[in-house]
């Protein structure tokens, strides 16, 4: 049996089939496993940390399965891709349910403030931010390979991250103000959007992750 190349962390919050399907489509020869076993996560070459739903539930379920340490270790050791709440949980704290995060990075997860949610014509912007928005790359990165700057990715979220360290930001999106939609540091890359639902551009990002040698 080949060694496990990509572990997708399953902590019971929603369906990871889309993420697994997308990886299988871009990397048919790579062994991909959806797992909640800390030993498998520790043994994997690469780790994907998805998340959907509410952050308080995500943190609770992560702890209920004893996965906090495995996730924290993975962020220090190997190529790591956070998606959506999997980005948000890396920070210290979320306004959603006043929830402490994993605290890998200093910063806060904030709700889109109602008083700012208007476009340049004064039209109301909806929350959740749901749909395809442009991603402005802050700096070159292996995960942006073959993805044009300002490409659109699919989002669905009501909270966004605000890192204390601006240098963490790998990309921003405007809704309506610029916020951090991707972070990068060493072996960690994490995005607010859903690459597994972002058609060709999203698949390219997942392909880049599989090939990434940080």
């Amino acid at each position: 049996m080949n060694s496990l190349q990509v572990a997708i962390i399953d902590y019971g919050m929603g369906n990871l089939r889309s993420v697994a399907n997308a990886f299988r489509a871009v990397a048919p020869d790579v062994r991909i496993e959806v797992t909640s076993d800390p030993a498998h996560i520790a043994a994997a070459e690469r780790v994907v940390f998805p998340g959907q739903g509410a952050m308080p539930d995500c943190i609770r379920e992560l702890d209920a399965r004893g996965l906090r340490q495995a996730v924290t270790d993975a962020t220090r050791e190997k190529p790591f891709l956070g998606i959506c709440i999997g980005l948000q949980m890396l920070f210290e704290h979320s306004e959603e349910g006043d929830t402490p995060g994993l605290g890998i990075y200093p910063g806060e997860v904030k709700r889109f403030p109602a008083e700012k949610m208007f476009d340049e014509h004064g039209a109301k912007l909806k929350v959740p931010h749901m749909g395809w928005s442009q991603v402005q790359q802050a700096a070159p990165h292996a995960l942006w390979h073959d993805i044009p700057d300002q490409e659109r990715f699919y989002y669905v979220h009501s909270y966004y991250v605000e890192p204390d360290d601006a240098a963490l930001t790998a990309a921003t999106t405007a809704y309506p103000f610029d916020y951090t939609c991707a972070i990068a540091r060493d072996n960690v890359f994490a995005v607010q959007f859903h690459p597994e639902k972002s058609a060709a551009a999203g698949l390219q990002l997942l392909r880049n992750f599989v090939n990434w040698k940080p």
């Binding site: 889309s18 489509a25 959907q52 739903g53 109602a114 931010h129 395809w132 809704y175 639902k197």
Partner: protein, 254 residues
Amino acid sequence: MGCAKRIIPCLDVTDGRVVKGVNFLELRDAGDPVEIAQRYNEQGADELTFLDITASSDNRDLILHIIERVAEQVFIPLTVGGGVRKVEDVRRLLNAGADKVSINTTAVLNPQVVEDAASRFGSQCIVVAIDAKKVDNQPFEWEVFTHGGRHATGLDAVEWARKMVSLGAGELLVTSMDRDGTKIGFNNPLNKAISDAVDVPLIASGGVGNLQHLVDGVTLGGADAVLAASIFHYGEFTVQQAKDYMRQHGLEVR
């Protein structure tokens, strides 16, 4: 800034095939769901909606297999509705690969299902479908109908939309029953009234006959996404043509 206005081809599915009715009656066969889904994905569809209109409960699981097959090949958001009665139905559709589940008649009969499903799976995957018709026998303009438009509920569509969002609906799919299949355009006053009343995105549905109708759905109806079936199924327009047209008319599209 903001989001691209989404174009969502809708596939009405019965017994494993895509069909499209006119005024919810007279079904015509339009093809294999997986092939059609792939074609729309290649044309640049932003999302796909599947409505299961299978009458017989024997064949209801067919939609799960369709969604499984589509989700293995098409990497854009998939919404599935039709025949969702219990939280367990939502779970099964999400597990098959749906990203969102649309709840219609059940939301009226048992609103608790919307609340329970939203709290269990998150608002982001719960769409409430509202079928509305203009009426003159009520103290309000648009009434909610269920069972594919056959049953009047006595509910004001705008108030109903507010209530569904308060229970956790993350998006509303608003179909104008008197427009569906007519090709005379969305009911923009209805959509605008609902869009202004809630914070969540609104998908306009029912009545698209040409590309200007899509533009009007956004500019006049306040829709965040536009849903259409027959103009795409029968090859009158491609999704790409629809996007080009919307872009030429000043709308942000992907």
